[in-house]
Symmetry: C2
């Protein structure tokens, strides 16, 4: 009998030794399972994204579609059960593509081959008749500099910098190639080029030009710049090797209009214990105009609304306040992100952390943590809760552009880190449509976000 | 000076303290980077898969396409640089779909709605005129049993067992639903049903019927069985709720022909230190006939050939012998897997481990390890080498069907474990085509396999 007694005492002592932490972890584990079940079975994110992309479509800042998307989001946040929904006024640039884009390779014998091109966002137009000039191909700025004015003047500079396929995370290849899209026109203009064309920033060989923002150096002439599809770039490069006298004809009609009054959309659930502490979760509502902005970043918007819906649907009353934010104008100005940060400062809002989803609706791998090491550790101890859902990487630091005006000032920032292999096939191209989004992958992202927001709302940071 | 001397001595001692293991790990880490670079930049797997699926197409065992695929694989293994390539004779069943498949919902008022159906593999045909009968819907075998002969006799049993969306790994949902496809016909026949139709084993609502093997219980009447698309199943279920007198018309012309002589294809690189120890890497060459067998399992075949190509291309001389095997007849018989095991036993081959890729050409998450704990640990210590490539999960146990005749007898088995969210949208359906394969994802799988085969060839198991 004494042995049995000992055993009983031993087990009782074990039970009492269970730290509060262990009990909390078990609670949390059960809650995460509930959140995942709710979203995988009843989630609305995919249907919402389908509706947004099909009924509203692409929604570049300043466009009628962007205005419609604001109304759409306001309505959906209310339907999702937000305690309150409001708009934040924000002035956004209004660049339009115009009606015509044309790119043609012209061999020295006059033979022509059309290739798919698109104006880069914020570029100026060509003259109405277009520009025809010889092409000089470079792979990087060093090559351009070595060629100098003598070889570049009067020509179209063709930046043919492909994605480095050896990066496992395709965002790194994107980062590497980015400067030729952003600064290529002005650098070419420095040596007297009349236009620049850039190999599309895509991980695959395809026939779609991929747009994206560029910026001018105000001290240099503003020349038109366009992206050519990766297949088009391969063709042009091949032809130039055979015939260095090859010319290119570029025509584009894009131009800037007056700024437009637009809006961030914010939906809130009020915290019941620390209502002043605010947790931000968001994505951006604007998108490029060529596709429908499904992955970029309709996904982040509907996932953020799904966070609200899931809290309400499961009857979770968060201790801290949650703001789901659909930011406006990430693609060509970041005015929405700046405005949210400015208003938060003005209103003395106590934002404690911000999570952004802007890497596409792909299977989540973990979270990028842009914060001090002690705060990182606080989140990293939750990793075992996420492993059953295939989130394992809590070591990266990438967060999101829209929250950067706050995180640059010290707010802890988090980015949903996803499997990136397919993103840059469709990014900023005609192919960013709902048909290329997988429902379960999108919903797994929403569930991961909701789970992390739940933990942050329970424990703070 | 003495402080400097001390420091130097300290560093020298550190260098000497580096265990052989640490040095080896660094070597291995560099070699894995080389393997990944080679495959991500120069990999041929995707182009091969494109060629196989487009010029040969779907290749069900016994079909002319399967015979063509054998020749295709033999040629590619030689091109990849295998030291030797040979065929293993294997008799395979030859089931054909025939020319006509038709499924129609007939309401009691005579109104008809056609739904997409396909015969399940190995099913018998309907009579030439088809079968028309009332439909009885069940969700599982318990329901069927409760209904009994009284309610089932003379009817068509409709198994409407959807995928459980709460599983994170969709293979678990597939596993759960599998028995209704495999055994549904005989269980329905037990109670006098005249045919059975099964909800397609798919994770999404779509318009494609998904085929797959079924088997008859020889003691019961053999009735025809078909799969209906998930959207078709949803529609039928809805109509049955409104009108329980609804009938279904099923017609299919599938039938068995005589067995056919076919082949496994084996390509080998001989080990230069322990040539008798054989490491098997493979996938299956046969596929269902509705699609082109791109993910299932052209992917595994071209990845296995890529292992050979990469060893040769990088000049890696493995210590142990590698067999890349394209198994025949996984889908409806497993005769190739059985034959390879039988010949290995007969020839007293010393196979030490087998790795199979048969879960689609999706981003790899890790490896399933079906082996004793001590051997598992030997592989699990390599996990840090794979983390930079997003392989983190070495805890599962799933390997592959083709290697199961060997692993059931104790051979350590490994399965490439991949992100499964999209697989069962296209699995065994018309949509299993190259357009749904991502080149980088396929190549990352090949690189993971080559890396593991490299480590196994260096260290054994």
């Amino acid at each position: 009998m004494s042995a049995v007694k000992n055993k009983i005492l031993f087990f009782i002592s074990i039970i009492f030794c269970l730290s509060e932490n262990a009990v909390a972890q078990q609670d949390d584990s059960l809650m995460l399972r509930k959140i995942y079940n709710e979203i995988l079975v009843n989630g609305k994110a995919y249907d919402w994204l389908s509706d947004l992309t099909k009924t509203v479509g692409g929604r570049l800042s300043g466009s009628p579609q962007a205005a419609e998307a604001v109304k759409w989001t306001e309505k959906k946040m209310k339907e999702a059960g937000a305690d309150s929904v409001w708009l934040q006024e924000v002035k956004v640039p209004h660049w339009v593509r115009g009606e015509k884009e044309e790119g043609t390779i012209i061999r020295s014998d006059g033979k022509k081959e059309e290739v798919p091109v698109c104006a880069l966002g914020m570029s100026v137009a060509t003259p109405v008749a277009g520009i025809t000039a010889k092409v000089i191909e470079v792979h990087d700025f060093d090559e351009l500099k070595k060629l100098g004015e003598e070889k570049v003047k009067g020509k179209i500079v063709f930046y043919n910098h492909p994605f480095d396929q050896t990066f496992i995370n395709t965002f790194e290849a994107y980062g590497n190639a980015g400067k030729y899209r952003w600064a290529g026109a002005s650098e070419a203009a420095r040596y007297g080029a009349v236009a620049s064309i850039t190999r599309s920033m895509s991980s695959s060989d395809n026939d779609y030009p991929h747009t994206g923002s560029m910026g001018y150096n105000d001290s240099l002439p503003k020349i038109p710049c366009a992206a050519v599809s990766t297949n088009g770039a391969n063709l042009l490069s091949k032809i130039l090797k055979e015939d260095s006298e090859t010319k290119f004809f570029l025509k584009q009609t894009c131009h800037m209009l007056d700024s437009v009054l637009s809006y961030n959309v914010v939906g809130a659930i009020k915290g019941n214990e620390f209502p002043d502490e605010i947790i931000v979760v968001g994505g951006h509502l604007d998108s490029w105009d060529l596709g429908k902005g499904a992955h970029d970043d309709g996904a982040g918007v509907v996932q953020s609304i799904e966070v609200l819906r899931t809290f309400k649907s499961l009857g979770i009353k968060p201790k801290r306040t949650i703001h789901a934010v659909a930011f406006m104008n990430e693609e060509n100005g970041l005015m929405g992100g700046k405005k949210y940060a400015e208003l938060a400062e003005k209103n003395k809002d106590k934002n404690i952390v911000a999570l952004e989803s802007d890497a596409g609706g792909f299977p989540p791998l973990g979270f990028g943590l842009n914060m001090t090491d002690d705060k990182k550790k606080k989140i990293q101890v939750w990793k075992p809760l996420f492993l059953p859902y295939n989130l394992w990487n809590f070591e990266g630091e990438g967060d999101g552009a829209d929250i950067s005006p706050m995180t640059r000032k010290g707010l802890p920032g988090i980015g949903l880190h996803v499997e990136s292999q397919r993103y840059f096939e469709i990014h900023h191209a005609k192919t960013d449509v709902i048909e290329n989004v997988n429902k379960r992958e999108l919903h797994l992202g929403a569930a991961a976000m909701t789970s992390l927001i739940y933990l942050l709302s329970r424990y703070g940071l």
